[in-house]
Amino acid sequence: MNPSVSSLGKDLVGLEDLSGDQIISILDTAEPFKEISERRIKKVPVLRGKTIVNLFFEASTRTRVSFEFAEKRLSADTVNIAASGSSVVKGETLVDTARNLEAMRIDMVVMRHGSSGAARFLAERIPSSVINAGDGQHEHPTQALLDLLTIRDHMGRIEGLRVCIVGDVLHSRVARSNIYGLLKLGAEVAVCGPPTLMPPAIQELGVTAFTRIEEAIEWAGVLNVLRLQLERMHGGFVPSLREYNRIWGVSSQRLAAAPRDVLVLHPGPMNRGVEIDSDVADGPHSVILNQVTNGVAIRMAVLYLLAGGRQESAEAAKQGGEA
């Protein structure tokens, strides 16, 4: 495999940079990879001999573990570097970290960083492939891809669906990546939440904005419910978590009033009883654990494609050959 011929380009920084066809090709590539995780021996030699560094400047459990499983199930050699924001002087260290990693001749870096634009910054400075595992409030492309895959699994399509992203859109990289991905695949997209948590000029991206959750639920076929971080209350964006739940929380009563069955996603980790009620999270509308399962397949697909694999060869690759 040769990354210079990757159908995605060298890096995956964000979905804003991809075409609809490229996004569909990632989703289609993930399909055959789903099955690997269901085997008794969950390993294929697709990325044998590839070296991948998981560079996490911010705490992460779900995303980091998901990437690590994806890498290991494709037989890559992986190294994890966890640098907490407090122990690393940001910025300058990022340049030096990049140069040092490069000097060790690696193939890919999966990076999460607290600064928007950090993934692009790294990608522009090293020849290795860079996969953005979340940069500040900018993008989290693999999360949006796994959301898209989960929606497609359950609804059979993306095009023409009405998807509403609910909650703290202002601070959410998941929201931005979802908006780009959904729009490129032909969905109608809305956002809903307190106006204090809506980014300025968000409608100019081509989305509808609701300020009442009841309106959003009436409109939407799919809700993607974002986590409300506790510090937003301390920052004064919302007066209290109780009030947030009362006004914007996704509850079974509200879903029962919807004109149609609504699919409910959540990128995790959930605040039960704040943005989503437990009976919704654990109920028939929820596909939250399917998202987690799909996360591994999506990340395998991204790793495979960036390493130069072809979508049409993915089925053969997982049977044992290197792509």
């Binding site: 940001k90 990022l94 910054f121 900018h138 100019e204």
Partner: protein, 437 residues
């Protein structure tokens, strides 16, 4: 004792005397000794052929950061004064947000002395408004003025406390100096990174709304109106800010204001792709704001073009966007940018450019110069309006390279800078004149 200079046959453009015509200028003893249509060279006179060149009163930049003391890896007073001269400026006003801050006569005197030692553009120190730039109590303004300060400011930070701003505007009247403010209501977006709007939303960067600047400009105007003091508003970037200043002037408020070259020609789009070389404060704004700043420059709502020259080491700008510092260098691109993208686009004429870059700065800050009248200081800028050149940051005399204009092709460049009757900088001929063909 010193050599005399005769600038022969240049197009002398001096709005202070309503003069635009081919003249000779004789400089002797640091002063303009004579200005006339045909001056014969006295003995010991070096004749400089200025035919085909524009000769103006020395350009003055009232807003530069020379970083010394404390930031000598970015710029020194000497390197900044040389960069100024290479940019066609004969004088600059050095902001006091150094480390330590210039808040006492000793530090002000140090900057003035280092400026003289540089033997390039004149360096006028600006002192702090408050001790330590902490925004709490008034710095020793009178002593700083005695040591050479020509204005006071806490630039880099706004004066948040309205009482302190009132006191400064009152107290400074004893010394006839302006109180310069960096207008920004920080509480509205303490960690804002760029202009608030679609680009910031797309990039996931915290925005700074125009209102941050507008609120503070209005407050400052009200305090200037209350006190009768001379308010100088720095780097105005918003449409409402420009309009507020225009209205204040029509009411007779003593306010002067700056426009920076970058706010005249760039919008927030320059930041897209997380370009840290376009990160500055106030941020690059929307096209409607750029249009308003240009209109304000034309009708005089904005009196002065000032660069806000803000050098940063490449290590500091080579960072994720929110970790990079604000500011760009401006001394060595200002003339070319203003000529190419403001004058040649018809926003202002050449005389207005000289007014905004020489006469008004001298008047507002009470500095020598801003005129070539006989008996005035011998500070002269000579520009070649036909020179075509490409901005090459590596060639800057500044120690820093942080410019969003790298690679821009510009028309019009300084060719000689004369301070006190002496040439302190001269373009290498191959730099400019051969490019012109």
């Amino acid at each position: 004792m010193s050599e005399k200079l005769l600038l022969k046959g240049g197009r002398v453009l001096d709005p202070s005397q309503d003069l635009d015509g081919v003249r000779d200028i004789l400089l002797a003893d640091g002063m303009v000794a004579a200005l006339g249509e045909q001056i014969d060279a006295p003995e010991d006179t070096r004749i400089i052929d200025c035919a085909g060149l524009l000769v103006t009163p020395g350009l003055i930049d009232v807003h530069v950061h020379l970083r010394e003391p404390g930031g000598e890896h970015k710029e020194t007073i000497a390197s900044g004064a040389r960069a100024a001269a290479a940019g066609g400026f004969t004088a600059v006003c050095a902001m006091p947000n150094t480390d330590p801050a210039m808040d006492d006569p000793a530090s002000v005197g140090f900057v003035a002395a280092e400026g003289r030692r540089a033997q390039a553009a004149r360096v006028y120190p600006v002192g702090c408004i408050s001790v330590g730039r902490s925004g709490e109590r008034l710095a020793p303004v009178g002593e700083m003025v005695d040591a050479g300060a020509v204005a006071i400011t806490d630039d880099g930070s706004p004066v948040t406390n309205s009482l302190l701003m009132r006191l400064a505007l009152e107290y400074a009247q004893s010394f006839g100096i302006p109180v310069a403010d960096h207008p920004e209501d920080l509480s509205l977006s303490p960690s804002g990174q760029m202009n608030e709007g679609l680009v910031a939303t797309r990039l996931g960067l915290k925005g700074k709304p125009n209102a941050m600047e507008d609120i503070h400009i209005l407050r400052d105007i009200m305090l200037a109106e209350l006190t009768g003091g001379h308010l100088h508003l720095q780097h105005v970037s918003t449409r409402f800010g420009v309009e507020s200043i225009r209205q204040a002037k029509s009411r007779g408020v003593h306010v002067t204001a700056e426009a920076s070259p970058h706010h005249l020609v760039l919008t927030e789009d320059a930041v897209d792709g997380y370009r840290t070389e376009a990160k500055m404060n106030p941020p690059l704004r929307a096209q409607t704001d750029v249009d308003a700043v240009r209109a304000g420059l034309a009708d005089g709502a904005l009196d002065i073009i000032a660069t806000d020259h803000a050098p940063h080491h490449y290590d500091e700008k080579e960072a994720a966007f929110e970790d990079a510092p604000n500011g760009i260098v401006g001394l060595e691109t200002a003339v070319g940018i203003v000529l190419t993208r403001v004058v040649n686009e018809g926003v202002i004429d050449l005389a207005t450019m000289v007014e905004r870059m020489s006469c008004q700065p001298a008047r507002a800050f009470g500095l020598p110069g801003g005129t070539l009248a006989e008996g005035s200081v011998g500070d002269v800028s000579v520009l070649d309006l036909d020179a075509q050149w490409t901005v090459d940051a590596a060639a800057f005399l500044s120690k820093s390279r942080n410019t969003p204009f790298a690679g821009w092709v510009l028309q019009g460049a300084p060719v000689r800078t004369i301070v006190g009757g002496k040439t302190v900088w001269e373009a290498a001929r191959e730099d400019v004149r051969e490019d012109a063909t």
